[in-house]
């Protein structure tokens, strides 16, 4: 542990995770402090002439008035260097595996561990030579951090100059000097792989681009109906049991980001264990390496200290921004932002602040917007392009979307994926309700879809959505008088909508073929369904009753095509087109 340079005060009062300090006025706002004899990590969150308020990131049981509080002089920060990936941290970047080694199966308080392994040697390739000018974010060395990811060691923001000397390629720890530079003011500065960055401050970028590329997820309802852009923001609200976590897991597994930061914020311990195990075994479809090689987990389970829950979100996004600066596309899964908001509420209550709606503090909205605004598709300071995409789960109380966290989140995200209890009860997964969800990105992404997914992709998608909304309208009537009395063209809409719901929207996360579906197959599936719709419409236009059409098993076969056509053999869809034609000609011939 480093020598502590800051100042000392003494504890005066303790109330859960909040402590009050008297005897020194020199603390700075958001300064990191060590509290008590056990050196619990805390942060300064309030200052008055009389006392300093500190939130403690660990269990405060056992703290006494009179114990010292040491200031560190710097804001609460994360350590950025190789070793972040393929790792699991708590809310303030302490490696849980190391804690388990020293503390056993249960997390002790006051565990003093380094965020990253300072002993480990990394095979390093230096990419600069003496005399090279280097600026903010310039890459000075490269380290193969995991099989999937090349870690680019960069100059921290705010540092620039000219390279004076370099060490040869070889194995170095994260604390050893690699390069020495002369800064503009003439001084020399030694650079290692490590930098520190305060978690509450966004890392600077060159400029922001519009979000015009989708985050391809392989989940049909997302890629076609409600796409998320790279650098975009999405909210995933749903009551308990609607599949928020499953959807997050699916996205973390299959989306085409380079790096995944998975923040388990106030959620279940067993879920984090599951992610650890599963990602350590599953293959990344892009690289063939393990998924864990591109993943970092941040775990503040629901029984871990509440103040660290508030910090975990910021820790996660700071790590994401760091990898974005290297030119990677990073996706953050925050599960769940409601727990983070509740942590704010709990701390705010302990501080006796005036509550706004439902006891949440009035600054809930501004904190949420500040978090989601850290997403974006950007040009980095070093000229590379990267993005941070945020997908935040929301756990509304009672599944009621009118509560403050959902409503405020809705204001700051552009893609809203509403999970629905009744769909989940019927085990229709993913239980994303296609009527209440929306994506504002569809217009921005139309160009990409035209160029990359097929010129008719957006058209097909709109047709599908149209059929589904018509079905909803018709269902209102069906509820009153039954489906038998509808005219045949409307019965057809109901039947096709059923095919879309069962055959297209429902996606089986546990089925080897269906868990991830490439864009091409998604388009072909839509085309087949719409082809069927067109042919049936013609038949009904010739006064054939729906009952006659239903005698054929063509509908059931098309519902099953998601399982029957392997992802690698999209050419087999032409047999479905043939089948529809055959069905059409057969009915024409026998009933015309």
């Amino acid at each position: 542990m480093k020598a502590i340079m800051g100042i000392t005060g003494t504890i005066y009062g303790v109330n859960g995770p909040i402590i009050l300090v008297r005897g020194n006025l020199g603390y700075k706002m958001n300064e990191m402090v060590y509290v008590g004899e056990k050196h619990l990590v805390g942060e300064v969150i309030g200052l008055t002439r009389e006392e300093t308020t500190i939130q403690v990131y660990e269990e405060t049981s056992g703290l006494k008035p009179g114990e010292p509080v040491l200031g560190t002089g710097s804001p609460i920060s994360v350590t950025l260097a190789p070793g972040i990936l393929c790792n699991i941290f708590d809310g303030i970047e302490r490696p849980l595996e190391v804690i388990a080694e020293i503390g056993g199966a249960f997390i002790p308080t006051g565990a003093r561990v380094d965020a990253l392994d300072k002993e480990r040697l990394w095979e390093t390739h230096i990419t600069v030579a003496p005399g090279d000018p280097v600026g903010e974010g310039s890459v000075i060395a490269e380290v193969q951090e995991t099989r999937s990811i090349l870690h680019r060691v960069m100059l921290p923001p705010g540092v620039s100059g000219e390279v004076v000397s370099v060490h040869p390629d070889g194995a170095y720890t994260i604390a050893q000097e690699l390069v020495r530079i002369r800064t503009a003011d003439g001084g020399e500065q030694a650079l290692t792989m490590t930098q520190k960055w305060p978690i509450r401050v966004p890392r600077p970028v060159g400029r922001r681009y519009p979000a015009d590329r989708p985050l391809v997820t392989g989940q049909r309802i997302l890629d076609t109906l409600f796409p998320i852009a790279k650098g975009g923001t999405a909210a995933l609200p749903g009551g308990f049991g609607t599949g928020k976590t499953m959807t997050q897991h699916q996205l973390a597994k299959w989306c085409d980001a380079d790096i995944i930061i998975y923040i388990g914020c106030g959620e279940r311990g067993n879920e984090m264990t599951n992610v650890l195990e599963e990602f350590g075994e599953l293959e990344d479809p892009k690289t063939g390496n393990l998924l864990m090689d591109r993943t970092t987990l941040i775990a503040n389970t629901s029984n871990m200290p509440v103040a660290a829950r508030e910090a975990s979100i910021y820790t996660g996004i700071t790590l994401a921004e760091y990898y974005r600066d290297m030119g990677y596309h990073v996706a953050i899964m925050a599960d769940s932002t409601s727990r983070w908001a509740e942590a704010l509420r709990e701390l705010s209550g302990r501080l006796e602040e005036m509550p706004a709606e439902e006891g949440f503090p009035a600054y809930l909205a501004s904190r949420l917007s500040a978090f989601y605004e850290r997403a974006g598709y950007v040009e980095n300071l070093n000229g590379t392009e990267g993005s941070v995409t945020i997908i935040g789960a929301v756990s509304p109380q009672g599944g009621d979307f009118s509560e403050p966290v959902t409503q405020n989140t809705k204001r700051f995200v552009r893609c809203f994926l509403a999970l629905d209890k009744s769909l989940a009860y019927a085990r229709h997964y993913p239980a994303i309700n296609w009527l209440t969800s929306y994506s504002e990105y569809i217009g921005d992404l139309a160009g990409w879809y035209n160029d990359n997914a097929g010129s008719n992709f957006v058209y097909c998608r709109n047709q599908l959505l149209h059929i589904l909304t018509t079905e909803n309208r018709l269902n209102e009537i069906v509820k009153l008088i039954g489906s038998d009395v509808l005219p045949d063209d409307q019965k057809l809409v109901l039947e096709i909508a059923r095919v879309i719901r069962l055959g297209f929207l429902q996606q089986n996360a546990f089925h080897a073929e269906d868990t991830y579906v490439p864009m091409e197959k998604q388009l072909r599936m839509m085309e087949v369904i719409l082809h069927l719709y067109e042919r049936c419409k013609e038949l009904i236009g010739r006064d054939m009753p729906m009952a006659l059409l239903r005698e054929s098993d063509v509908f059931e076969k098309i519902i099953a095509m998601k399982y029957d056509v392997p992802n690698r053999e999209p050419e087999r869809f032409s047999s479905y087109d043939d089948m529809i034609e055959e069905f059409y000609q057969h009915l024409l011939a026998t009933n015309a």
Binding site: K64, T301, S302, R345, E346, F360, I481, F510
Partner: protein, 458 residues
Amino acid sequence: MAIEYLGLSEINGPLIAIEGVKGAFYDEIVEFSVAEGAGKKLGRIVEIDEDRAVIQVFESTADMSLLNTHTKLTGRPMEIGLSEEILGRTFNGLGMPIDGLGPIRAEEYRNVNGQPMNPCSREYPRNYIRTGISAIDALTTLIRGQKLPIFSGNGLPHDTLAAQIVEQASLGGDSDEEFGIVFAAMGVKYDVAEYFKRTFEECGASAHVAMFLNLSNDPVVERLITPKVALTAAEYLAFEKNMHILVILTDMTSFAEAMREVSSLKGEIPSRKGYPGYLYSELASLYERAGIVKGSSGSVTQIPILTMPNDDITHPIPDLTGYITEGQIVLERSLHQKNIYPPINVLPSLSRLMKDGIGAKYTREDHQDVANQLFSSYARVGEARDLASVIGEDELSPVDKKYLAFGMAFEQEFVGQGRNENRTIEETLDIGWRLLHILPREELDRIDTKILEKYWRE
């Protein structure tokens, strides 16, 4: 620590304040004695401001006055003494024996607050526990190391169901492994506690049960500590003594009510329905103490029971519980009124861990498919019933009529079973298949074609 303080500065219900204390720490346990010879009362420090401590008294504060009370700091957080002897014994809500068999010879003292389990040291639960109850085994499978609450209402047979689960789960399966039951009652009626006691005796399990009882006329504040004491005991037995422990916590609603009561006395800012903002964290600190730890062969499985106020599943207590636990078993009044036991409404019921604990390796290859199909078909029954109530049963389409028949049979024959009926998983799945045959084959859209061909009998 030997210093005793005489006198208090404030008494407000179960909260008292004392000034001039030195060296007190947050969460420390203090002892009070009021008069010579009278028993000691215990309390816990919940707030410190310099030399003023606010203490929560676990017992009644009757008799205490500002002048007559002697206060002693124990220098320890709340601890209980543990050894294997606690099995077969009965304790009060603070972990003190009340069965007249004398004190426990403790091997070890543990802080009841516990510590969070490191996610890296957890073992992901996969072994299913056969309860012999179809609706649970097939549709909301209970997994060893899971926390699966029963959401119930007043007057519903949740106690009977919990007792049946305990009986049948402890009878079957791996009989060579040691099992134990930790039973924690928070604010339940005497009859309920007695019922469980009798059931344990009748099934011959009582030597394996540790009971922690805080009955409804016991002090409210004691209720806040009861589940922590019980779970500390459970963790000790599971992870030190390598036993499989099933924990029954009843009734979580009383626990949450006690929190609200104390929070409001402390003058805290309430969030939803007057409950404190930390209700979620507090519930989580209990529920998360279920699981399996690497390097130990024991496990803690929790079945908390809560009665939903006004049968409302969106009430904060069931709502926050559902967000923490790994699923829920929901009891439904209308099924109870139809005289179906157990009245489990399978649609909102869920087991999150089931997907990894079933299938060919654990139960049977068709388990997941049958479960999906039963859920989806039964959801369709609801739609058909709604329609029938508007247009009349006679006007329904032939398929919808079949769904009505399926729904009736499903409730009577699959969900419904005897209080002592212990079905094997094969029996359960076979009943499922028999009922699915009521529906036309093309309606079975959730079953893999291969499985359907194997199990479908024309």
